[in-house]
Each structure stands twice: as structure tokens, then as C-alpha cells.
């Protein structure tokens, strides 16, 4: 599904290498987790894959379903099936959540040459999905993420994911700022989307989230590289022993 080969990235504004050769393959139907200390390049990886400005790819490639995504505009990557659940969802005053969702769904359908969703159909689907995430009508009416609590913002991300039905989902520290109940709700939302045709890349600091969203593969990232790959037990190892011994092994 998602294939990253020797990806090297530096900042546009300063000569600072952030990713130093990332290799990673996420297969359809699988959940991969990336853990690692602060500053190891996890969020940069998610931004580069989704097309945020400010980064320069100096080497390597990333493909989604065989298509090179690094040359695409962010909206083209979205239409190709890539979805990033933001660590810090952006507040957009003045744009209603519902308007935003409908515009996004239909923009992607249009880009793929599919028929746009009628407003009745859209309303029916969105209500159903919002309900399972405990998102009420009021939240759908409000401007995107404005005045939302941390938990509400993350639930809203998952709602967007559910509506857009991407092929490849990247979750960037979706657990940050969530209490136990909210984490359960968000995880249930993600698990409901687990599907044979869909890949997940879950970026997190903590094992806790991985108790709810059980990964198939766990990677440890440090200093712009993946230094170790293993099964779910690797996350438990990090939880009890920290990163230090893994970093030493690498050095």
C-alpha cells in the first residue's frame, strides 16, 4: 500500500536534515506503529507524506498503491487515498464543519471521477458516523474545530477519516491530549475502519494507544531513521525500558 524507500528530507528554510533514509512498507490490511523519542522525525514523516510546505526531499521515494506521491499536490494525495489525522487539528473560523466535510467528500469524488454525494445522502451518512463517535449536531454545525476540546478535535479527525474512506491512514499522535474515555472512543472509531484494503500508520509516544489499536508491526524511529522493527512486544519493551537501550544498540 504505502512504500517508502530511503526517504531523506531536509528543512527548506535551513540546512537541517530531518529524515536520513527512512525505509518502510505498510501493507493493505495492516497496522504499523512508529514510536520514538521527541525530535526523531516522526511528525516530519507524516507531513512530508501528506505534502506540507517547508520540506525538501533530497533523496528516496514514497509511493501509494504504486503511484509516486511526492510530486503530487496535497489534494491529489488525498484523492489518491492518503489521510493524515493531525496531531494539532487546525481551527478554521467561519467555515462550518458540515460544509467543510461535504466539500471535502465531493472534491475527492470529483477528482476520482465519481459522482458527487447528494446532500440528503451525505446528511444521512454523516449523522450515522457522527453518532458512533458521539459527535452531536451542534458540533457539526460549529466552525471547524473552533472551540472544540482536545478530545472533540481528535474525534472530528476520525469522523473526517470515516467520511473520506481513505486507503492509507496516518495518525499523528492521535492520543495526545486525550483522556482515557476519549482514547477509547477514538480507538473504537479507528478500529471500525480497519479493513483488508486499508493500511494504517500510527505515530505515538505511548504504548497506551496501542492497547486499543493493536498494531501488527512496531517501528522505532530515532534521528531520522527506523532503527528497529518488531512485533507488538517491541512497544511493551519501550514502555518498560524506554528508548535508551535501543538507541545504544544502534550506536
Amino acid at each position: 500500500m504505502l512504500e517508502i524507500k530511503n526517504l531523506q528530507v531536509k528543512l527548506e528554510e535551513e540546512d537541517k536534515q530531518i529524515l536520513k533514509g527512512v525505509n518502510l512498507t505498510v501493507e493493505a490490511g495492516k497496522v504499523h506503529a512508529i514510536m520514538g523519542p521527541n525530535g526523531s522525525g516522526k511528525s516530519t514523516l507524516s507531513y512530508v507524506l501528506s505534502g506540507k510546505d517547508g520540506y525538501v526531499v533530497t533523496e528516496g521515494e514514497a509511493t501509494l498503491g504504486g503511484e509516486d506521491i511526492l510530486e503530487m499536490e496535497p489534494e491529489e494525495r488525498a484523492a489518491a487515498g492518503l489521510f493524515l489525522a493531525f496531531q494539532y487539528p487546525v481551527e478554521i473560523p467561519g467555515v462550518g464543519n458540515m460544509t467543510f466535510l461535504r466539500t471535502a467528500v465531493n472534491a475527492q469524488r470529483k477528482a476520482r471521477g465519481d459522482e458527487e454525494m447528494s446532500s440528503t445522502e451525505f446528511l444521512k451518512v454523516v449523522r450515522e458516523k457522527a453518532k458512533s463517535l458521539k459527535i452531536d449536531a451542534e458540533m457539526l454545525k460549529r466552525p471547524v474545530n473552533v472551540g472544540f476540546s482536545g478530545g472533540e478535535k481528535k474525534r472530528n479527525e476520525i469522523l473526517q477519516m470515516a467520511m473520506l474512506e481513505p486507503k492509507m491512514c496516518i495518525l499523528d499522535e492521535t492520543d495526545s491530549g486525550l483522556d482515557v474515555d476519549a482514547m477509547k472512543l477514538v480507538s473504537d472509531g479507528v478500529n471500525a475502519l480497519r479493513d483488508e484494503g486499508r493500511g494504517f500508520l500510527v505515530i505515538t509516544h505511548y504504548q497506551r494507544l496501542l492497547d486499543h489499536i493493536k498494531p501488527d508491526v512496531v517501528h522505532i524511529m530515532y534521528d531520522g531513521r527506523i532503527i528497529k522493527t518488531g512485533g507488538p512486544e517491541l512497544a511493551l519493551e519501550v514502555e518498560t525500558q524506554g528508548y535508551a537501550h535501543l538507541i545504544e544498540e544502534e550506536a
Binding site: G51, E73, E75, A78, V90, V95, A104, A107, Q108
Partner: protein, 425 residues
């Protein structure tokens, strides 16, 4: 005191090109306005109040020509049930207008109104009050020389909006219109205005809102790009009255909209809002002066400007809180969205407060489109153009939401969407 020579010359030249309408109930007001105008002279480039906007084309003896709009988009408010009053190049068109009759409102033409009239006590009065502490010579000129206009007296709640619809049909038209609206106690009316009135347009609207009365005004200035307009609204607000005005301006090489409001009765509410979309050779000036002279009144000024390709936006806004105007709640925000580095926004927000128990805040910002917001929308699949338009509409939303009627809000947003779509090509 003699005027400086250049000002005297300019004023003489302009006056020589005009005829003072004679006789009738408005004659004394016109003569008084002419005398006031002669004493102050027309605005010149050195006047502080015209620092950001060049008045020369507005005061010149002859109006610069302006091409007539050639396009077939439907007019704004076309779908709104309203009483239509049509002017072509500043001349009332009875055929195209609805009969000037509606329950709870008396409507007359300024040019027709014979004999003693309720408007006699009002015509030019609010304009004259609005000349201190800052002179507004173009408004005095208007009172003296207005050739037509509409007089409305509202005695109850009017069932549908009264719409003033302007058409610009001659490249050289030069119109001076003066409207007077008197909303009696308990009255409530919505007035709509749209269209470019002439190649050059000088308009004054005087609005007296009595105790407990309400006045709502929604205006769309668009279409003809080359026209020039100087407009004034002068309003007086009685106790527990409401005054709300919103203006959308798209296109226009030169627009100066002044709004001068005096809150004279306690517990009155005044909202003045505007949004403009400027592209290229576009200069838009909002000049606002709100005077609080009563207790526990609220005033809001909300202005948003979207500027690109070298367009210029100006905001001069003042809140004056007089001694004794306690518990005043004043708010003023003026913001611009600059879509490139060639465009500019010039703002002069002012507060002058002589009471000690008031809450007044003001702010002014200029910024580019929010890159984080743009990326967020694009990451969800919105193409850049659509995402930018959505953020642009979001930017002006605070001003548009000052319109109480939601269907009229939609009319205005629809206009903006169409403008953005045309620009995107």
C-alpha cells in the same frame, strides 16, 4: 475665514457646474447647506480626513467617464420579495418601480414632494449635525444640490424590504441623490440598495430612528468597475432603538463610504459592518464616526477587506464617548486579507472617551491567507482554489453575520462566491 486658494478655486469650479434647485420646502435647507459648503470648501489632498483617499475625481467639476457594465449575471436581491424603487443614472424611473405604497410606510420622491412635509424638519439636519467635529463637505454639497431621492416615513413594522435599485447607463452620468428615512416610534424597516448609480455618484441617506424603532440596511455596491462613489449615512438613534447597516463592495475604482451615527437615547444599539473584495485598480474607503451621547448603548463596527493585485483598502473609524455616556459598550474591528504583496490596507482606528465607566475595544489587522488552514483543507482533498475561496469567505463571515436576516446573508455570500469564481476563471 478665507479658504486656501487651491481649495477656493476647486470649490468655485465645482459650484459653477451645478444649479441649486429652487423653491419648495427644501429651499432653506439647501441654501444653508450651500453656505456651509462655501465656508468649508470641498476636500483637497492636504486635508487630514482625506489623507488616504484622493478626493480630486470626486470633487472635479466634471465627472470622469466610466464604462457601463456589460455582463449578464442576475442582480443581487433579485429573488427577494421587496418593494422596488428604481433609479437610472440618478433619475427615478416610475415605470420600472413598484407603486410607492405599502402598509406602515409613506414613500415620496424628493423631486415631487410638494408643500410642507414631515421631511422639512429632517432634510439636511442630520447631515449638518454630522459636520462636527469633522467636516464632510461632499455631504453638504449633496444636501444643497441633490436632484432626487426618496423620503420614507415608517410608522409600523413594514412587511417587506424597500429596495433602492440603481442602474448606470451613461458613461458620463453624475448623480446626486439624497434619501431621508424617518422611523417613528415602534416602526421597523429594512432598506436594500444595490447597483452603481452613475459614472460618479454622491449619495446621502439621513436616518432618524425614534425610540424603540428599528432600521436595517443592506447594501451591495458592485458590477461597474470604473464608477466612483462618495456616500454618507447620517443616523440619529433614540432610546432602545436599533440601527444596523451592512455594505458589500465588489469592484469600483473609487468608493468612499462614510457612516456617521449619534446615539442620543439610552439603551440603543448600532451595528455598522462592511466587507469589500478588491482586485487591481480598486480603492475602497470606510470612514465611520460613532458618537455615544447616552447611557448603556452598544456600538459595533466590523469591517473586512479582501485585497489583491495592488488594491487599496482604507478604514478610518472612530468611537467618541461623551461625558456621561456611561456603560457604553463599544467595539471596533477592521481587518484585511492581503492576497499579495502589492495590495495595501491603511487603517486609522480611534477611540476618544470622556466617561469613566465604559468598555471599548478596537483592533486592526492585516494578514495573508492562513497557511496552516490552507494545508489542512487541501490535505482533506480541497483543491487550492476552492480552499482559498472558502477561507476568504470565512474571513469576511464576521462582518456578514452582522446581517440579521439569514436569507439576506445568503444573498450576500452568494455574491461573494460568484465574484471569487469569476476571478478564479
Amino acid at each position: 475665514m478665507a479658504l486656501p486658494q487651491p481649495k477656493q478655486t476647486a470649490t468655485d469650479a465645482r459650484l459653477a457646474a451645478l444649479d441649486l434647485p429652487e423653491g419648495g420646502w427644501s429651499a432653506p435647507a439647501r441654501q444653508s447647506a450651500l453656505a456651509r459648503l462655501q465656508a468649508m470648501g470641498l476636500p483637497g489632498a492636504r486635508d487630514e480626513y482625506w489623507k488616504y483617499t484622493r478626493p480630486d475625481t470626486l470633487v472635479a467639476a466634471e465627472a470622469p467617464t466610466a464604462a457601463v457594465f456589460q455582463g449578464d449575471e442576475p442582480l443581487v436581491f433579485d429573488g427577494v420579495d421587496r418593494l422596488k424603487i428604481v433609479f437610472r443614472d440618478g433619475v427615478f424611473d416610475a415605470e420600472a418601480s413598484d407603486p410607492l405604497a405599502l402598509e406602515h410606510i409613506e414613500i415620496a420622491r424628493l423631486a415631487d414632494a410638494a408643500d410642507i412635509h414631515w421631511a422639512q424638519d429632517l432634510y439636511g439636519k442630520l447631515e449638518e449635525n454630522g459636520q462636527t467635529p469633522v467636516e464632510r463637505p461632499l455631504a453638504a454639497l449633496n444636501t444643497a444640490f441633490a436632484t432626487d431621492g426618496i423620503l420614507m416615513r415608517v410608522t409600523g413594522k413594514v412587511s417587506k424590504p424597500v429596495a433602492l435599485i440603481y442602474y448606470h447607463e451613461s458613461e458620463t452620468s453624475d448623480a446626486i441623490l439624497h434619501h431621508v428615512v424617518k422611523v417613528e416610534e415602534g416602526g421597523d424597516v429594512t432598506v436594500l440598495e444595490n447597483g452603481p448609480a452613475a459614472a460618479r455618484f454622491n449619495k446621502v441617506m439621513e436616518v432618524d430612528v425614534a425610540d424603540g424603532a428599528g432600521f436595517h440596511h443592506i447594501r451591495a455596491q458592485g458590477r461597474d468597475h470604473e464608477r466612483r462613489a462618495a456616500t454618507h449615512i447620517f443616523a440619529r438613534l433614540g432610546t432602545e432603538s436599533t440601527f444596523k447597516t451592512f455594505t458589500l463592495t465588489v469592484n469600483g475604482v473609487l468608493t468612499r463610504n462614510e457612516c456617521v451615527v449619534e446615539l442620543t437615547g439610552d439603551d440603543a444599539v448600532c451595528h455598522i459592518a462592511g466587507a469589500c473584495m478588491g482586485d487591481g485598480d480598486f480603492h475602497h474607503d470606510d470612514t465611520v464616526f460613532v458618537t455615544h451621547d447616552a447611557v448603556n448603548c452598544e456600538s459595533r463596527q466590523v469591517f473586512k477587506k479582501v485585497l489583491r493585485n495592488g488594491a487599496t483598502g482604507v478604514f478610518q473609524g472612530k468611537i467618541l464617548v461623551k461625558q456621561g455616556a456611561q456603560k457604553t459598550d463599544g467595539y471596533q474591528i477592521s481587518q484585511s486579507l492581503l492576497l499579495d504583496e502589492d495590495s495595501q490596507f491603511l487603517a486609522k482606528p480611534e477611540l476618544e472617551i470622556y466617561a469613566d465607566d465604559v468598555a471599548c475595544s478596537h483592533g486592526s489587522t492585516s494578514g495573508a491567507i492562513d497557511e496552516d488552514g490552507l494545508f489542512y483543507l487541501r490535505a482533506r482533498g480541497l483543491p487550492r482554489g476552492i480552499a482559498e475561496d472558502l477561507l476568504t469567505i470565512a474571513f469576511i463571515a464576521e462582518a456578514v453575520q452582522e446581517i440579521e436576516d439569514e436569507s439576506l446573508q445568503e444573498e450576500i455570500v452568494g455574491r461573494v462566491e460568484a465574484w471569487l469564481l469569476r476571478r478564479r476563471g
